[in-house]
Symmetry: C2
Subunit: 210 residues, 2 copies
DNA sequence: AAAAAACTAGACGACTGGTCTAATATGAAT
DNA sequence: ATTCATATTAGACCAGTCGTCTAGTTTTTT
């Protein structure tokens, strides 16, 4: 065959439309819970088109997750690069945005790692690996931000960036799960307070300093 | 142990057998991913029996989760009451057992809150409320244990039990999710190290005490 | 205009959760 | 022991869903 698989058609809009519609539906019903008929009816796309763009439901799921993780990493990097004067402020801003996005009730911004991570982990190795890679990258980026905070003197040198980055990320994933169950933002407020304690600022004017 | 798992002659043995089989299947495939036919074929139980004992799949799910949470709370209470000389040791033993159970690969002991919490939270209010209640109870029991540790002088007075109990629980839920994705126990080791830091022993000979 | 690729359309069989009637086992009352 | 009511089992059946597939139409390229 030729390079037809690499060719880009002008009208990828159908494919993108299926992916966008699917994200909302998956965030609401889960992956197994979202039927293809429901997806395609919602998107007003015939079933034949779906199997033109994706080889299977799992392939669709992989593309959905890859797109999601890619966009998430870009956004994370933007926040941790620009949204604040120092690394600690930017980190706290990240948790703050996490809280507001996960309490908005808007299905499209729901964290897909929380929503379908456990569901697909024992079912689809291909999808699992995409999320595994995503969580690894996010954890690393957070650890990096903590190290930056130690460099710009907004975070105490007493913490270990690698350990703490992963631990904070895990705590916020858990908080999201509990928040989904309890339908309120208390778990996030709790995680926020704990995060403040776990990311201590350097001691500046205590008696033992100076 | 007992004969009920081998014989189905006793009255409720069929019902219990369906629940036990369902727990393993749900832990593997998720709730929507487990079909009734698969469940009943695995359990060698005709469909008529299922609808004699349960009014619907959701009703079955509720009973499954209620039984699970009830057994979990009993086990948690046993650990936090007997498995160690002081409250802090008993708490650490709880996380240690969490780690080994979630890394065993045995589907039957998988944490159902992690596995199907997010999945069902937007689909079944009835099931969601059961898990909501369960997470609340577990968090409270952990906070209680931390307070006990402060009372028996195994945990520093500087921490706030309510905040910390919930935060630790959330971190371990998140660690379980990440561990399911990465298929290794690193997230648990990480959570364990962080837990040690978050549950400080009392300072015994510092200058500010006396 | 012809050939090839991109895309649409919906039929298809296996399966889904759920309902239904009938058959059988059990236990209490007589 | 016989009867009768209840508890439980059995699985055919329903309308609908699942993901797959082949055939057909439109668009692009040559």
């Amino acid at each position: 065959m030729n390079v037809s698989s690499l060719m880009q058609t002008r009208t990828d809009s159908t494919r993108d439309h299926i992916l966008a519609t699917g994200r909302g539906l998956v965030a609401q019903r889960g992956f197994a819970g979202m039927g293809l008929n429901e997806l395609l009816k919602t998107a007003s796309v015939p079933k034949g088109s779906f199997y033109h763009y994706f080889s299977s439901k799992e392939d669709f799921g992989c593309n959905l997750l890859e797109q999601y993780m890619s966009q998430y990493m870009s956004r994370l990097d933007e926040i941790l690069t620009t949204k604040g004067p120092d690394a600690r402020t930017r980190l706290m801003q990240y948790w703050s945005l996490w809280t507001s996005s996960q309490t908005s009730g808007d299905a499209c911004v729901q964290c897909l790692i929380v929503k379908i991570g456990a569901e697909i982990s024992d079912v689809s190795d291909e999808m699992r690996e995409i999320l595994e890679d995503g969580t690894r990258q996010i954890g690393m980026r957070l650890s990096e931000a903590i190290a930056e905070g130690q460099a710009d003197n907004s975070i105490s040198q007493t913490v270990e960036p690698d350990l703490l980055g992963a631990a904070l990320y895990e705590m916020w994933l858990g908080a999201s799960l509990v928040a989904k169950l309890s339908r309120n933002r208390d778990p996030f407020l709790n995680a926020m307070a704990t995060t403040e304690l776990m990311l201590p600022k350097p001691h500046q004017h205590t008696k033992d300093m100076i």
